[in-house]
Amino acid sequence: MQRRPAYSSPFAPEALQSVSSIPHMDDITPEWAWGGSTGQGVKVAVIDSGIDASHPAVGGVSGYVDITDGPDGLVYDTEPHADSYGHGTACAGIIRAVAPDCELYSVKVLGPNLSGRGNVFAAGLRWTIDHGMQACNLSLGTTKRDFFAMLHELADLAYFRNVMLVTAANNMPVPSFPSVYASVIAVASHHEKDPYLFYYNPEPPVEFGAPGIDVRVAWKDNGYVTSTGNSYAAPHITGIVAKILGKHPGLTLFQMKVVLRALAANVAHSL
């Protein structure tokens, strides 16, 4: 047998896989991307403060995990939980509005404990990768450089496993992780209200802009508030990603970025 350098076996003639193509960028339309899709069958994790499944804007949660830092290490509780702040419920409600039939999973990492939060956050990300989620909303992050390498590794792992991490950019002008990595879809806010209207930014790390200013969102106790923040921009894109995956389940993250870029409202299409 012919010897090959390391990692080269997928490119041997007998091993080479045929992969499907996507249309030319100018031929990608909303109809092609998500026409008829409700996000059905797509597993979407919301790593946040929990989701209140009883909120009318959420309409059900398919699975739960509440991760806490216990005296003997991390504790994973998969019993149904609520959302003591409202933030995770807000994100879930936005995703649900765009992709009404997706399966929402609540990965609760934001609780009252300040200690061990970086590790709990990373554990939430790992749980998401290990449990077959296809998309994941991360409207939170950390600015602590201590977690740069650990989160970078997890974000790369998510990329290789085709788990699409949609992250909110920090609301303060400081880089937060994992939103500044190339392996995620980073989102900040624009002023418009149309949930399907998003822009592409040719100067990353933040690549997409979605509604995030004075957005009416679900909150705790079955309530609603109007709030501002990149936290609400990210789930708009997460919902759209879920919808696209509902119709094109095999897309990789880089193909997803190509599709999103093609559909961005500020792209000048050649005729």
């Binding site: 403060s49 003591s84 009252p112 600015t143 109007t226 709030s227």
Partner: protein, 298 residues
Amino acid sequence: MSDDAKNGGDGALGEARSTIARQAAEIARLQRQMADARFADELRQALILSATAGTIASPVTHSRLLQMIVETAAHVISARAGSLFLIDEETQELVFEVALGQKAEEVKKFRVPLGHGIAGLVAVSGQPMAISDAQSDTRQASDIAQQIDYAPQSILCVPLFYNDQIMGVLELLDKEGAPSFSPEDMDALSLFGNQAAIAIEQSRTQGNLAALLGEVLESLTGVSDAQKQWLQERAAAFATAIERENPVYRQALELAQVVQEIVSQGDAETKLCQTILRGVAEYTRARRQSTDGLGDFS
């Protein structure tokens, strides 16, 4: 606040007050230039000035400083009420340090668990939040507002970060002349919060140093009372010298504050600062030596 305190009960406090008044005029001007690129920098200068005035001129430094921070923030961002909470790590609670506004005295009694409300969310997520909604009941978003039966129309809350750690949150209630706080308000208050956190930490460190010095003096069991008294007098004289208009101490303290601010920006900034300062120190030493040397020969 009493009229006496407003007018300045003693010289030092009066001076701090007049500094604030000057800053208020300056801030009003800055407010009209919100879009100006220099705004953030000038705001920072204003806060450093107020922090300096607070630590040097006023004997009631820490609480006065916190009060000034909320007053300045509410003034600059045009909010009707405001409050500042610091985190009690042991009890995992937010402790009200300052409250401004109509129901300020009632609000001031509260300690809030980190697991609830907008302030709790900001403290655990490290992300600023703006909430508004005239129709829905925003009291649900704020435990404190709920407890004192005060329904704010809008809330803006930012974390106070120092060295990557959240030490507390700064919250403003009810934007004047608008239904909600704008993203620009969020940016400005976040920047302001960063500077406020540095000022609070400086003030806290100074307070801790004074307490530590006191404990050290107390622990000197083998020393005679007379010696102890002498040490205490020396310490008191040192503290007074800093508080008074001693230009050397004052300049050194101001320089230390500038250095601390740079250090808080990160490793690269710290290294740059060290390199420059060491260079200056070496240069002045060399210059002194060469002058001394010439003196030997003459």
